[in-house]
């Protein structure tokens, strides 16, 4: 896994959100969720995104992750203006550049831990054998190699989230996005997950953008951003 990003601290931001607005139309009503957001994240950064419920944290994270498009403004991630890509180009781009960590883990129930981790690799040109090996390596990193053949229902919440994290970085994307990754976990499991994310940031140079309500989780990040009524505060 590349540590290139860490070696270039002065490099251009890997996440560059420029003057982004996001407006939802509900019947005649317009709801401005994001109102002129600017956010630059340098490579190797660990950012915590905080703010009250409904302030638009998930919306902003989705824009950065390339699963949503801004109403206006630009979102440039890893050198690509996400808004300019077609639907299928965007899907391919996500598989190479973004890893997802969800609040409820979102593992596929009928697939084993190893198969879940292997999923993103199906979109690469790796052979079956290479995919298996890399998935197993990723499971080793999160300390669950012995659970490779287990199904999600046979794992605890914390273990499920660790498998999900392995799935997020197995294809070696530059950016990890996490939406309340500890929101559904007890304190001890949350601590393990945060330690794991810190290690991915420190040892593997992953840029992490994490939405959280939990101040203790936010403390683990290098910087904290506060979103309020569609506007970012430092």
């Amino acid at each position: 896994m590349s540590a290139e990003a860490v070696r270039q601290p002065a490099a251009a931001p890997i996440v560059d959100v420029r003057n982004v607005r996001k407006v939802y139309r509900r019947d005649a009503e317009q709801i401005t969720v994001l109102d002129g957001i600017n956010l630059q994240v340098p490579p190797g950064e660990f950012v915590a995104l905080m703010g009250p419920s409904g302030s638009g944290k998930t919306t902003l994270l989705n824009l950065i992750a390339g699963i949503d498009r801004p109403t206006s403004g630009e979102v440039v991630v890893a050198g690509t203006d996400v808004g300019r890509l077609s639907e299928s180009e965007l899907a391919r781009w996500r598989s190479h550049n973004v890893g997802f960590i969800f609040q409820f883990y979102n593992l596929i129930p009928v697939l084993t831990a190893q198969e879940n981790v292997e999923l993103p690799l199906l979109l690469t040109s790796l052979s079956k054998k290479e995919r298996r090996e890399r998935a197993l390596t990723a499971l080793k990193v999160v300390g669950l190699a012995d659970r490779a053949g287990h199904y999600p229902r046979q794992l605890s919440g914390g273990q499920e989230q660790r498998v999900a994290i392995a799935r997020a970085f197995v294809a070696d994307p530059g950016v990890l996005v996490a939406d309340e990754p500890t929101g559904d976990l007890d304190a001890k499991s949350a601590e393990e997950i945060l330690a794991l994310m810190e290690s991915l940031n420190r040892d593997f140079g992953k840029t992490i953008v994490m939405v959280t309500h939990d101040p203790r989780a936010a403390e683990r990040a290098h910087t904290q951003k506060h979103l309020e009524k569609g506007v970012l505060k430092a």
């Binding site: 899907a91 996500r94 598989s95 979102n106 596929i108 129930p109 999923l119 199906l122 799935r167």
Partner: protein
């Protein structure tokens, strides 16, 4: 690379209760389809087994069946001495004049009357027609009021028992034998002596048809032309096998139409059933779809995956349907819708080809049932799919 098929197979296996109704629905349609196709095949086979390739049927031009055909005696005498007609062991032409009537007799099953073909023949019929075997008793004695009964019709008609006496055209006939004819349509007939029957049946001075054996099957065309060219005779010669196949043609087409119609109507129902189930499956897996799309799987691979899952369900149903249909293989029944309005008994015939068609049919139902739900799943915006519980 698309999502692996094993992902769909496992989903079907773990959540089989959800799809049980759809699977059974498709299965039942396939059962009916296989059964009807087996019926059509069995019927066609029963008539196809009737007839020797080297035999010609001489019948009246434009007659729909032997029943409405008439070959006068003087025409018969002219035809049987033709050079092309083969000669039997006794030195006489291999020609079989036959008279045919239809009688109503009660079925064993429901006692309702059904039409049975009664055929008056000469001893040469056995040599010309070929394949007739007496299974029980003996053959009839010319000059006596005796008949032999085809095995299949004996099984189906009340009173057709060896040794019993049956009334035909206000005349009593004693049953002295039961015969088979290699599964052909004659097994659905009653045979007796032509000269004895001609009086009571009012079929004197000729016959309804004349079956002849040709020395060389390839001379059939010139034989037919010679008969047609004679202005005295309103007759024609048709290959025996083709004659009986054509008789089956009408019903076979009707059966095929029935298969098509019933399968289509039931199939549409099953497609809607499958569609319902697939909509429920897609709805239940909305967040999963959002996750897969976020990971980078394309809309197309989601579409393909859910159509595939629907096809897998349908194939499971198809296999179930084929198994359910299997016990009817060989089951005997009869049809009264032949051109002579008499019963032809036949056995349901399930062939590998029919089973394959049944599975293809199931696949099609799965495909069409899965298409719209899969499309809905593929079109979901990722962000709203991920918000689902």
């Amino acid at each position: 690379m698309p999502l692996p098929i094993s992902y769909n197979v496992r989903n079907v296996r773990t959540r089989w209760q959800v799809s049980l109704l759809a699977v059974i629905g498709i299965g039942l349609v396939v059962t009916v389809f296989v059964a009807l196709m087996a019926m059509r095949t069995g019927f066609t086979l029963a008539l196809r087994a009737t007839g020797e390739p080297g035999n010609a049927m001489v019948v009246q031009r434009g007659s729909a069946s032997e029943l409405t055909s008439w070959v006068p005696l003087d025409h018969r005498n002219k035809i049987v001495v033709d050079q092309r007609v083969a000669v039997g062991s006794n030195g006489r032409p291999l020609a079989s004049p036959e008279i045919v009537v239809v009688g109503a007799m009660p079925r064993r099953s429901d006692h309702l009357p059904t039409n049975v073909t009664i055929r008056g023949v000469t001893p040469s019929a056995f040599e010309v027609r070929g394949g007739i075997e007496i299974k029980e008793g003996r053959t009839f004695q010319p000059g006596l009021d005796e008949v032999i009964v085809g095995k299949r019709i004996a099984d189906r008609i009340q009173g057709l028992d060896l040794g019993a006496t049956i009334p035909i055209q206000r005349h009593n006939w004693k049953i002295v034998g039961i015969f088979t004819s290699r599964g052909g349509a004659f097994e659905s007939e009653i045979w007796g002596d032509l000269d004895t029957m001609a009086g009571p049946f009012r079929r004197q001075g000729g016959s309804n048809s004349l079956a002849v054996r040709l020395k060389d099957a390839s001379t059939l065309e010139s034989f037919d032309r010679w008969i047609r060219d004679d202005p005295e005779m309103q007759l024609q010669a048709v290959q025996e096998r083709k004659y009986y196949e054509d008789q089956a043609g009408g019903l076979s087409a009707t059966l095929l139409f029935l298969v098509g119609f019933v399968s289509l109507t039931m199939g549409v129902g099953a497609v809607f059933g499958a569609m319902n189930t697939m909509y429920a499956i897609v709805a239940a897996r909305t967040r999963e779809i959002g996750t897969l799309r976020a990971l980078g799987f394309s809309r197309r691979s989601i579409l393909f995956s859910f159509v595939m899952e629907s096809v897998i369900l349908a194939l499971a149903g198809g296999l179930f349907g084929c198994l359910l249909a299997f016990p009817i293989n060989g089951f005997s029944t009869a049809s009264g819708q032949t051109p002579s309005f008499s019963e032809v008994a036949f056995a349901f015939q399930i062939t590998p080809d029919i089973l394959a068609r049944g599975l293809v049919f199931a696949t099609a139902m799965g495909f069409f049932g899965g298409l719209l739900p899969a499309l809905r799943g593929a079109k979901l915006p990722i962000t709203s799919a991920l918000r689902e519980a």
